[in-house]
């Protein structure tokens, strides 16, 4: 098990390093960046950047400084657009917002998706099954940037129940639509995956054995079918997590929640490279750790995998 974890770490750590180096190189070569002299930067910013990277230093020393800063102090350096703020300040402003509705969306998508998928498989070929299949097909073509405006049309324009944007410190009317818009398509995918793997498990030989032993139906499902049926879902959680992290950019922009995605796009338009890099690396680290966690969980749950 330890060997397996080390092996996974052997992928995770280089990935993260490659991501950081790649981002840094991009920033160095970027036209109009602080390292080129095309665009006059505010003197204060230039001073900040100089203090951080040492503009007269060769690039590998600068990269080293950047890496060491991130790894030891979690320090992403100064902003290239704002004179008085660091990247960390900016990220910390938006991160809690995204984390709040992102976590809700993720948890609800997994819970509802699982429940729907299991129910559909157990009641195979009934109206419940058709409903679940129909929903999941429909939601497949309703990604977050389609869901968001449709939700606003219905709940804000027609019904007038919910505000069309804003955050207000995370009061619940402001959280609902972001959560639904972000989570729906993943909920549908999770339902589809759970349903088909549950159907496969339910028709497997060991379930037949359990039934032949006279085990009651609920016991067969909970005790015998649930764990194997949820394994494929576990491997989907990684991609779902990445998808939601990415989708949050849309949500933040569309609902003006002030989350990390909004900061990201603002910085993209402002060419605030260090913020873009900081956010990319942070979210990269987040997804890589999450995938690592899922991999370890997978190996831990499936008794057949022992490394």
């Amino acid at each position: 098990m330890l060997k397996y974890i080390l092996k996974r770490l052997g992928i995770a750590i280089p990935t993260l390093l490659i991501l950081i180096v790649f981002s840094f190189v991009l920033m160095r070569v970027a036209p109009g960046g602080p390292f080129s002299s095309e665009r006059p930067l505010p003197p204060q910013v230039l001073a900040n950047v100089n203090a951080k990277f040492g503009l007269d230093q060769p690039w590998h020393i600068q990269l080293w400084e950047y890496l060491v800063g991130i790894i030891t102090r979690f320090d992403f350096g100064p902003s290239f657009a704002y004179t008085d703020r660091t990247v960390n300040d900016i990220i910390m402003q938006g991160f809690p917002v995204t984390l709040t509705y992102g976590a809700w969306a993720f948890v609800l998508a997994v819970l509802i998706g699982c429940a729907l998928g299991i129910a559909a498989a157990v009641r195979h070929n009934t109206w419940l099954d058709y409903l679940a299949v129909g929903t999941s097909i429909g939601a497949q073509v309703l990604p977050n940037f389609v869901m968001a405006p449709l939700l606003v049309i219905v709940f804000t324009l027609w019904l007038g129940w919910l505000p069309g944007g804003g955050w207000r410190g995370g009061q619940w009317p402001y959280v609902i639509m972001p959560v639904i818009a972000l989570g729906t398509s993943y909920m549908a995918s999770i339902a589809r995956i759970t349903r088909s793997s549950m159907l496969e498990v339910l028709s497997s030989n060991f379930i037949r054995t359990a039934r032949a032993k006279g085990m009651p139906a609920t016991h067969v499902i909970v005790r015998h079918a649930l764990k194997p049926a949820l394994m494929p879902l576990l491997s989907y959680l990684g991609p779902a997590f990445v998808g939601m992290v990415t989708g949050s950019v849309i949500i933040d922009v569309f609902f003006s929640t002030g989350g990390i995605g909004q900061l990201f796009t603002n910085s993209a338009f402002n060419r605030d490279y260090s913020v873009i890099m900081g956010i990319t690396i942070l979210l990269g680290a987040l997804t890589i750790s999450f995938n690592l966690l899922v991999d370890i969980l997978y190996a831990w749950i499936d008794p057949r995998i022992r490394y």
């Binding site: 195979h124 070929n125 028709s203 497997s204 030989n205 060991f206 037949r208 054995t209 359990a210 039934r211 032949a212 032993k213 006279g214 085990m215 009651p216 139906a217 016991h219 005790r223 015998h224 764990k227 194997p228 499936d302 008794p303 057949r304």
Partner: protein
């Protein structure tokens, strides 16, 4: 006294290609301590017969007829009541020990749940009883086996676990669906010995499904040969082995290697089993039959009583020899039949 009585049991499946009748009007019964073998090629409906009896058919399967266990009708029984019989009074052993045990649960967990559910045992007590049963099926070091996951056991060990699991509640009827097919030959022999020993010890009625006549010879009292969902011949093992009355039984016997007789070559049955959605007219076996004549293509032979307790479904009344199976002779003889 019969333990399990099957009357006019039919099984059909709704498929995209229409309704397929996998089993057609089966009748048989087994008594305690007796062993019945159901023999046939794959697709002959032998497995579906017992699946129907156990209520384990796939969702698109439909059952007609009656299956009585100890006088109680199982077909149409409420699942709660059926669950009290399954695993307790009627137990089943499956073909493939690799996939028939839950890979995610320890042997222990899969065994004790049977006792906890049917016998209301406490876990501790159930573990002791399971250990005892593993000893009965000659598994060494049962305590350690209990803590194992199925993938950590060999094929033979897994099948022994399956058997032990089926015997936990001293079932009155034990159904074994190709219990030795997936195992090595040496392990097969051990398993057969184990079955013989156990039916003797517990006075269990055993139904064994197989396509291996070696298994039948070593174990069964009675045998029933199925072809295309119907019984074509039924009787005691000795009678059927030494004096088969149906060309299919005859063919099966002659396509099986035999140590004592030491045949030079085997005579396989030509052709393939028929497609159940599109059975040939008349006798389902006729396209492959070496003894067929014009009546066989027009009419379906009924399963009729021959002498004492023997049944067979064939129009041909003459002698069958191995010689008849050779092609040129078959051809000549058919001309003779047609000429008369």
């Amino acid at each position: 006294m019969t333990m399990l009585e099957v009357t006019d049991l039919s099984v059909s499946f709704r498929t995209q290609a229409g309704t397929v009748r996998a089993v057609d009007k089966m009748n048989f019964s087994v008594a305690p301590g007796q062993t019945l073998a159901i023999v046939g090629e794959s697709g002959s409906g032998k497995s579906q017969t017992v699946m129907a009896a156990m209520g384990l058919l796939a969702n698109n399967g439909e059952v007609e007829g009656s299956v009585k266990f100890d006088g109680r009708e199982l077909i149409g029984m409420k699942s709660g009541d059926l669950n009290k019989i399954r695993g307790q009074d009627m137990a089943m052993i499956f073909q493939d020990p690799m996939t028939s045990l839950n890979p995610y649960l320890r042997v222990e967990d899969q065994m004790v749940e049977v006792l906890m559910f049917h016998k209301n045992m406490k876990r501790k007590e159930a573990i002791d009883r399971s250990e005892e049963m593993l000893k009965t099926v000659h598994l060494p070091d049962p305590r350690r086996i209990l803590r194992r996951y199925p993938h950590e056991l060999s094929g033979g060990q897994r099948q022994r676990v399956m058997i032990a699991m089926a015997l936990l509640c001293d079932p009155k009827v034990l159904i074994a669906d190709e219990p030795t097919t997936a195992l090595d030959v040496t392990v097969q022999a051990q398993m057969l010995k184990l079955f013989a020993e156990l039916t003797d010890k517990f006075n269990t009625a055993l139904i064994i499904i197989t396509h291996d006549l070696g298994v039948v010879a070593g174990l069964a009292d009675e045998m029933m040969v199925m072809y295309a969902g119907r019984v074509v011949e039924k009787g005691s093992v000795d009678e059927l082995f030494y004096d088969p009355r149906h060309p299919y039984t005859f063919g099966l016997l002659h396509s099986t290697p035999h140590v004592q007789q030491g045949r030079d070559r085997l005579a396989p049955i030509k052709g393939l089993p028929p497609n159940l959605t599109n059975l040939p007219p008349g006798c389902a076996f006729n396209p492959r039959c070496a003894f067929r004549f014009d009546r066989c293509v027009k009419e379906r032979p009924a399963l009729i009583v021959r002498e004492h307790n023997r049944l067979s479904a064939c129009f041909y009344e003459g002698e069958m020899t191995e010689h008849d199976m050779e092609e040129d002779l078959v051809h000549d003889r058919e001309k003779d039949v047609a000429a008369t």
